[in-house]
Symmetry: C2
Subunit: 255 residues, 2 copies
DNA sequence: AAGTGGTCTAGACCACCAT
DNA sequence: TGGTGGTCTAGACCACTTA
């Protein structure tokens, strides 16, 4: 039997206009192969010598191209093992996309409990963030996240139906791993990064009930737009965080 | 006349234990020269060929060392001009350390107005963040920041006296550029990055008065620890942000 | 032992910038 | 025009992983 994902054979690079560095052309070719599904998340790339000769470039140039994609978390290098197309897992989610931790610095993956799942329409904010028309068909999902057994975060997700056709409550709830991993495995959508805008607001009745807090208590409201390749938005969510025992954490300027 | 900052001559690298890559040894040497003051912020490095031969390494290895320091914002490369020791300016501050912008995405540098400047003592939080004893002598400073003429942020800074000896209200207020630039020029302290922890709280009387808002209105409280070389903490500040017209913004996972 | 990525060399030539 | 960093080559050898 053939392997499930035969690595594509890359054609030598010819000229591709002046001013564009060769390594960037190579990086774009690799990215295109990943986006097209020819090299799915988790799959291994041909080794660097082979790749370099397929592209007709030196190994140094090939490494510079791969290095760019590693820096943007599209690829993952593991010495002695190979280079892999990055995929979502609990660790990556925790590190890159979940920025709530206990006041004393303890980080842990949240327990997610889905409290609402229905077909609906994008509200104005979501439509704006996703670049779609308000009222477009969408999944509307609410989750409650617990840390150390305590309800700390309330999430309202809006997913455009056009990207997530065929999603069901059952598939959503019974996913084997994180939500972003589900996007990736079931819909070939890879979340690479996200923009977040944070405000302080008074908890509304909905959130207060879901999190068991007093109405009008100050809470963080985090509005996130998740992006895939080419910075195309694929998910809009509003997270409400009860701060006090837990906090929203950022390290500025690491890059 | 001699130039103000003659670039130090670097000695060839001999062995430096196994397992440590050569380029990392070179990077540490450069960093040490910067930390020691031999290459002050804004100064230009010798060109890459010369540096490589001083260290006795190939230009590729030298470039890899410099590349690491550029990635961590210690150095700055400008093609055709040279490699420079990074220094703080309004642009860098805005980009790396000021994450408040108008709800519609407009970013602008804040107008800073100092409303309190006095000698005092570190409180428990600041002492903990700075790794010093509570009650250590410190400068305590309060600023009000305006955006588009509107008071949006209230800052409470605590600076350990030991690092900022000789600071005066006059020097602080009449600094020619940003606060971090003052740290750098007057105290040889370069802020490289910062950790921030964000909570939603009700505005206290102090803050409400300074920002002209109602007491108990939900506001963001951002507690920042600013770090220099070796992740040594040098400043602790609590910023209170009125969100609504303005927001706290983050882009996750760029790196 | 075989295969992978990681480090390092000793160049050549290009693109950009100041003068 | 001369100097800078940026790109690219064609290797050699090292360190790590797996079998």
């Amino acid at each position: 039997m053939p392997t499930v994902h035969p690595p594509p054979a890359f054609q030598p690079i010819v000229h591709e206009g002046v001013g564009v560095p060769l390594y960037r052309v190579v990086a774009r070719r690799l990215l295109a192969a990943i986006e097209s599904g020819a090299m799915p998340p988790g799959s291994v790339l041909p080794n660097e010598r082979d790749l370099a000769s397929q592209f007709g470039v030196s190994i140094g140039t090939l490494r510079q191209a791969v290095g760019e994609l590693v820096a943007s978390h599209v690829l993952l290098r593991r010495q002695g093992r190979g280079t892999f197309v990055a995929h979502h897992d609990a660790e990556r989610f925790l590190f890159h996309f979940f920025h709530v931790e206990r006041a004393d610095g303890l980080r842990e993956a949240p327990e997610v409990e889905t409290i609402r799942f229905e077909r609906g329409r994008l509200d104005d904010d979501a439509a704006d963030a996703l670049g779609l028309r308000p009222g477009s068909a969408a999944w509307r999902i609410e989750n409650r996240l617990r840390l150390q057994g305590r309800a700390v975060v309330h999430d309202r997700l809006q997913l455009p139906l056009s990207h997530f056709r065929g999603l069901t409550a059952k598939r959503f709830v019974e996913r084997p791993s994180t939500i972003y991993r589900l996007y990736q495995d079931a819909f070939a959508i890879t979340v690479l990064r996200a923009r977040e805008r944070v405000r302080a607001v008074a908890a509304d009745a909905d959130v207060a009930q879901a999190l068991g807090i007093t109405r009008s208590q100050p809470v963080l409201e985090v509005r996130r737009t998740a992006l895939t390749f080419g910075d195309r938005p694929v998910e809009y969510r509003v997270s409400t965080v009860v701060t006090g025992a837990h906090e929203y954490v950022q390290t500025l300027s690491r890059h």
